[in-house]
């Protein structure tokens, strides 16, 4: 197994979960039904991402991704994008709140440099500047 030569980008978590606001960033190809689907026809992958607000209705989300079986996510998006689960944890006061912005992208690309230096940074900026998140849960497919 070849480990990444990059250092582990570890940011300490300082605070209390019950007072913290959490965002979700998913590589599972999640997007709103009225947003442009990810371009699965491009063999190099789609480097774009989609942003959702904290008011997103889980039934308005869908998956466009052809590198995993998303039939279960088609029935319940929470298996890859746990927005309703996060709301449950807010209700039970396990977390403090739901971040203003959440992100979906398609976690498959042959353009690793562009993903790492472009898309990933743009998503991080989106979350850092617009979501007021104290921490992020990352999910794949």
């Amino acid at each position: 197994m070849t480990l990444s030569r990059k250092c582990v980008p570890f940011t300490p978590f300082e605070g209390n979960l019950s007072k913290s606001t959490i965002a979700i960033v998913s590589a599972g190809g999640v997007h709103l039904k009225d947003q442009e689907p990810f371009n699965i026809a491009d063999e190099l992958g789609d480097l774009s991402y989609r942003v959702f607000t904290n008011e997103v209705n889980s039934s308005d989300l869908k998956v466009t991704h052809h590198h995993y079986d998303h039939s279960d996510a088609d029935k319940d998006i929470n298996v890859v994008f746990p927005i309703d689960v996060l709301r449950d944890l807010q209700t039970e006061e396990f977390i403090g709140g739901i971040a203003r912005k959440h992100v979906g992208y398609m976690g498959y690309t042959m353009q690793l440099k562009a993903m790492y230096e472009g898309t990933a940074r743009e998503i991080a900026n989106e979350i850092d500047k617009g979501s007021r998140a104290d921490a992020v849960v990352l999910t794949g497919g």
Partner: protein
């Protein structure tokens, strides 16, 4: 930017470990497409998400994936393996 704490939920622990995530949870035996469990199993999904978020608050070893068992999931799926690097890859 000072950085944002993250925790990953992965169903491909060996693949994810290559990227050395700062914190990661592998729900043992969950298949691809079931990061939080199966559709409608909300209590199981809550357990997985609570455990993932809790990794933010404990001393984990950055770059390692923590495995937890969730018997309620029912099935066991072998996770994808990483192809061994050949000499030319080293």
């Amino acid at each position: 930017m000072k950085g944002i704490p993250t925790v990953l939920i992965t169903v491909s622990p060996e693949v994810s470990a290559q990227m050395r995530p700062p914190r990661a949870l592998y729900p043992n035996g969950f298949k691809n497409g079931n990061s939080l469990g199966k559709p409608g199993m909300r209590e199981l999904q809550r357990s997985v998400l609570r455990d993932a978020l809790s990794l933010l608050t404990i001393d984990t070893r950055p770059g390692e994936v923590v495995t937890r068992d969730y018997p309620d999931y029912g099935d066991y799926h072998e996770p994808p393996r990483v192809r061994k690097a050949s000499k030319t890859d080293a």
